[in-house]
Amino acid sequence: MDLPRARGAFGADLFTAMRAGDPTLLDPSAKPEHDEDAAIALWALYELHYRGFDDVDARLEWDADLLRARGALEADLETRLRSRYESPDLPDVASTDFATAFFAFVEEHDGASLAAHVQTRADQAQVLELLRLRSVYHLKETDPTAWVVPRLPARAQASLVELMYDEYGTGDPRRLHAQLFADGLAACGLSADYGAYVDEAPLEVLEQNNAMSLFGLHRRLRGAALGHLAAFEASSSLPSRRLVQGLQRLEMPAAMSRYYAEHVEADAVHEQLAVRTMCGSLVEEQPRLLDDVYFGAFSCLDLEDRLARRLLATWGVAA
């Protein structure tokens, strides 16, 4: 994959410096023109830690100037995410069983649903657009949470790896969730190349992806990373079933239904692991992380709600 298209002057200068292999070209006082300019720049800087770019020297992953630029963009993103978040009544939460309180929080913050639209009304073009946008994450499914593994106490670690073993195909590369999605894309006549559709991604998709990398790459934010994962899993099983029904209604390829069908059952298990064992044991052993667990969960649900409302509005559907 090559660097994506810049969305403003800040990103354009950054990408030029990255391509030239010379981040000293960067003006340290440069600021993004707008949120989208910032978001694609941060997405590209994070990508250096995943698969990288064919047109960027791999050594730049740990370049001090780029890390400084990344740090400023991350600080803005974290401030924005935190400003949207309102803590639940924590003493109240702490006095109830963690899993009960957490599942209730996820239910209360469940926002606009793309799955419900796909199930009953979406046309093929809308579903294909959604799949292209989902590919930005699904082709690296679970990768952002993998960074968290060495930063956890034993019980949370064991349960995260148990979940990941399933996401990564239980030893069978054909069953890797990212691979199931790639097979689905190909069957739908879309590109299964990693990052192929990032240039199409609106701000909301970039923020979803950046939030996961932000939480995953900072040990300080491990609570948010697990809270995000738990909310993701806890809001996946029923929507996945709706997506299967929508794909079947539109007679779209079985390979894509298979990805979502797998998630109906898999995520019914994963949500139990993620909420009860993983987050439950983490907040028991490190109670100070409780608020961050909820912050991560809220960010996951809120960013999905923002994306859903945006797409439904573009398609002329009421949320």
Partner: protein, 51 residues
Amino acid sequence: MLLRGTQVVEDADGVQHTTTRPVSALCRCHRSATKPWCDGTHKLLPDKLRP
């Protein structure tokens, strides 16, 4: 309820089901469409019917 490793579950009709994933969740609300495994349906039930 979570099951780990390969296990065999017998349903009410005496049919045996072998687990297919490293961890499986058993349906306890009796309403799953993929019985004996949980498929999240329990969330659609009123509180008093939830396991």
